[in-house]
Structures are given as structure tokens and as C-alpha cells.
Amino acid sequence: MIKVENITKFYGNVCALDNISFEIQKGEIIGFLGPNGAGKTTTMRIITCYLSPTKGTVKIGNYDIIENPIEVKKCIGYLPENNPLYDDMGVIEYLEFIADLRNLERSIKKEQIKKVVNICGLKGVVSKNIGELSKGYRQRLGFAQAIISDPEILILDEPTSGLDPNQAREVRNLIKELKKQKTVILSTHILSEVQATCDRVLIINKGKIIASGTTDELQSLVAGKEKIYFEIRSNKDVSQNLAQIKNIENIVLIKKEDSILGYEIESKIDIREQLFEIAVENKWIVRDLHQEKISLEDVFRKLTQET
């Protein structure tokens, strides 16, 4: 569906994208993940024909973004970063304007506007001016604008940024509703969002793709080690005793409050049972003992800091 080949983009002398290639199949939801300034927005802007790449090509279906920009734009619905809107227009006026630009026939146009107003929950504000809308409604309107012509591909640049947790969840639900019918690319730096909505993740840093795969695949990338959190009540540091257990690789005292000590232990295998035994032996009072799951956050931190 979307084929990005060796895209490079320079802003003056600054290299924003460095030879990026990837492919997206029909019906997939892809998450672009990366720190600010990594190149997520630039990639999206190139796919939507807003920017042209310094080198490389992008193909949407059979159309090339440089040779057939109009055809490409027809099949993409785009919600730009920060969701810019015309404040002096009315809500319906704006949706009509976009529908007109997207060549919707008169009869279909009315139907589609009704439909997106329903889907995005804009009913209460149809008679208002855009300038009067709250941030949540603005975001919904931006979303409505993107899906008004029922495009095959949706590109959403940080669709939940600046929304409160409830609104963000609503937007995520909207995206999930579209899941079956559309190909979606969304960018974010909120990891839980990716975990909740995306089939596949591309981690971008400094203009390069440093990892891609499903969230499970990415987690197994940095896995291979067990991480155990162990908290006891004790008056003295017990690292020495702990170090006697076999297979332990690293012990870090990460919490020390009065007589409560918390250790983060890395080991090759699961040593929770041995820890319990050693605690019983020494009559330590165990407050907590659990295995820490490697989260996408760890993967992300690890990958983006290494490079």
C-alpha cells in the first residue's frame, strides 16, 4: 500500500531524514515512535506531499508522490501536527470546504458530513465558529476533516497531544473503530498509546529507523535478562548476602527509606525462589518481591540512547 524507498531530507545543511525505507500493508496500523525532532513529522509530510524529499521516492498504491501528487492526496486523510484550523470559519462551513476540495458530489457530501459529525461527536457544536471550540472539540474536528472523504489511508500526527486522558482515550477509540477498514499511520511519543492501538511500531531516532516490529518483537529485542525487584525491612545493607546467590549479574540498591531497602536485581534466570529462601534463612521481612516486565518504555529508552 505505502512503499517508502531511501528517503533523505535535508533542511539546508541539517539532515532530517537519512535514507529511510519501509513498507506498510493494507489495513495495518503503524505507530511512529521517537523523541521530538526525530523525523516523524517530516516523514509524514513527505508521504502527504506537503514536503518533497531531497532524495528517494514514495509510492502510494501505484502512484508516485512526485509524479502524481493529486492522486496520492486523494487517497490520504491527514491530521497535521498541532491540528491547524481556520478560526474564523464555522464548523459545517469548514467541513463543506474540505469536502468540496476533495471532490465529493453534492448528495454524498451531505451524507458524509452527517456521518463524520456523528462519528466524531460534533453534534453539539455544529452551529459554532471554530474559534469558539475547546481543544478536545478542535481535535475531533481535525479528525473529522481527515476522514470526510473516506480515504483509504489515514495519517495522524500526534493525534492525542494536548488532550486530557479522557479525550485521548476517546481519540484512541476512534482510531480503533477505523482499524478494520483503513491503513493508519500515527505518530506519538506516548508509549502506552502505541501499545494500545498499533499493530506495528517503527522507532525513529535522529532521522533513522532504529527498530521496527510488533510491540512483542521489540520487547524481545532487549530481553534476555530477568529483572527482579526485591524489597525488605532490614537495618543493614544486605547486598553481600544476596551476591552469594548463583546467576546474579547485578544488584542495585534503588530505594532506602529508614529501614526499608529496595533492590533491583538482574540475573540470567528467574531467582525469585532463591531470594525467598535466603530471606527466610536470615529472617528478613519481605515487603515486595516481583519480576519486572520489560516495557516498551525500556526498549525505547535503550534504543534511543544507544545511538
Binding site: R45, T48, C49, Y50, L51, S52, I70, E71, K73, K74, I76, Y78, P80, N82, P84, L85, Y86, D87, D88, M89, E93, F97, I98, D100, L101, R102, N103, Q145
Partner: protein, 242 residues
């Protein structure tokens, strides 16, 4: 015909409508129109009652100077605002060509200013009733003004694409318009060798020809080619933003 309309005209009209409507969605349009009519009304009424002449000449001679301020003020927002707010990104990711956006916006500016000029039709109509008005010359004067609008608007939209700051856009357009305006006035000050050149570049000689009733293709080509030059430059800068 229908295919031609669909292919080339439809999108331009959509953009035009949106821009034209947004002039009236904001208060600025009304303020500018009212101020414009107040000033023109004053300069129409003064010669009428003091000199007792049924003529538009004083007004028409003054209008280029007023256009220097009014046209950049009307056109400065066309691109600057979209660049500042970021809506240009919405516009450029719709299935529209960049030149269609440019032409639609340009026409919206030209038509809006023309509406202001149409409102002054009231003055010559008054003159018909109270004196002997040279109707042919009046029509020629309005044609001259229209060509001036075409030229200044293209300079205005050129200033607008250069910056996201509307005030800066206004100043750039004003300075360029002013240059064309003042050069024509200099023909008495420059050495005789340059008089022809100065007359050719400046607005005055061309504008006076038309308003005198001599509608020469050379003068029309002057206005249209300068308008074309600035529109093409605008398009080039628009594309280079990619």
C-alpha cells in the same frame, strides 16, 4: 466545457469562495471598506462643492496613492495568516494544485478591492444628475483603476508569501508598490536620457493614458505583465517552501 470546468476552474472557485467569505467573516473587511469610502467620499465632495466641478478627476488622481495603503492591507493576510496558523499544510495536502490556490486567493483579493471601487459608483451617478459628466472618460477611469488593482494585488500577494508576519508582508508590498508609484513622478527630475525609461517603469504615464480615455494595448500589457511577473514569482516561492 463541463470537463474544462471540472479540471481547471472548479478548485479555483472553491478557494476563491472561501477566501472571499473569510474577508466578510472578519471585522477587518468592513472597517477597511468604511474607511476607504469615508476618505474617497471626502475627496469627492470637496471639489464638487468648493470648485463646483462635476468631475472625478481629483478623486481618480488620488486613488493610486490610497491604493498604496489599502491594497497591501487587504492582501497581506492571504498567505501570511495560513503560514502562521499552519493551515497551509491542510490546504496543500488536499487534492489541489498550488497554482489553483494562488489564483483563487489572488482573485479573491482583486474582487474584494473591486467591491470597494464599485461602491464608489455612487459618486459618478450623483454627478450625472447634477452636472454634465463625461461618461466615456468615467468608464476609462474605472478601467484604469481596475488595472491598477490587478497590478497592486499581485504585489500584495507576493509580499504575503514571503513571511508569516502580516505587518512585514504589508511593508514589503507597500515598498514595492511605492517604488513603482514614485518612479513615474520622477520624470521631471531625472536627466532627459532617462525620461523614457522612467515613464516606462513608473505607473503614472500608463495610468494617465488610460484614464484620459486612450486605452492603448501597450499600457494594458504593462499592467498585466507586472501582475504576471509577481504572480509567477509568488508561485516559485510557494513551491520552494516544499
Amino acid at each position: 466545457m463541463d470537463i474544462f470546468y471540472k479540471k481547471y476552474i472548479e478548485k479555483i472557485i472553491i478557494i476563491f469562495k472561501k477566501e472571499f467569505r473569510s474577508y466578510f467573516n472578519s471585522l477587518i473587511a468592513y472597517i477597511v471598506l468604511v474607511v476607504f469610502l469615508l476618505i474617497t467620499g471626502y475627496f469627492f465632495a470637496v471639489p464638487l462643492f468648493i470648485i463646483n466641478q462635476a468631475t472625478l478627476r481629483h478623486l481618480v488622481n488620488l486613488l493610486p496613492l490610497m491604493f498604496l495603503f489599502f491594497i497591501p492591507a487587504i492582501t497581506m493576510r492571504l498567505f501570511s495568516e495560513e503560514i502562521k496558523v499552519g493551515t497551509i499544510e491542510i490546504l496543500l495536502t488536499q487534492p489541489v494544485n498550488d497554482y489553483e490556490i494562488l489564483i483563487g486567493k489572488y482573485i479573491a483579493g482583486v474582487v474584494f478591492i473591486s467591491v470597494g471601487i464599485l461602491a464608489t459608483f455612487f459618486y459618478p451617478i450623483t454627478l450625472i444628475f447634477i452636472g454634465k459628466l463625461d461618461i466615456g472618460q468615467t468608464i476609462a477611469q474605472y478601467i484604469g483603476l481596475f488595472f491598477l488593482i490587478i497590478m497592486f494585488s499581485s504585489i500584495g500577494i507576493f509580499g504575503s508569501i514571503l513571511t508569516k508576519n502580516q505587518i512585514v508582508a504589508f511593508i514589503i508590498s507597500f515598498v514595492i508598490c511605492f517604488a513603482f508609484f514614485i518612479i513615474g513622478k520622477l520624470n521631471m527630475l531625472v536627466p532627459p536620457v532617462f525620461v523614457k525609461l522612467v515613464d516606462f517603469i513608473g505607473i503614472d504615464s500608463h495610468f494617465e493614458n488610460i484614464t484620459r480615455g486612450v486605452i492603448d494595448t501597450r499600457d494594458i500589457i504593462y499592467f498585466l505583465s507586472i501582475a504576471g511577473l509577481f504572480l509567477i514569482s509568488t508561485l516559485a516561492i510557494f513551491r520552494s517552501r516544499k
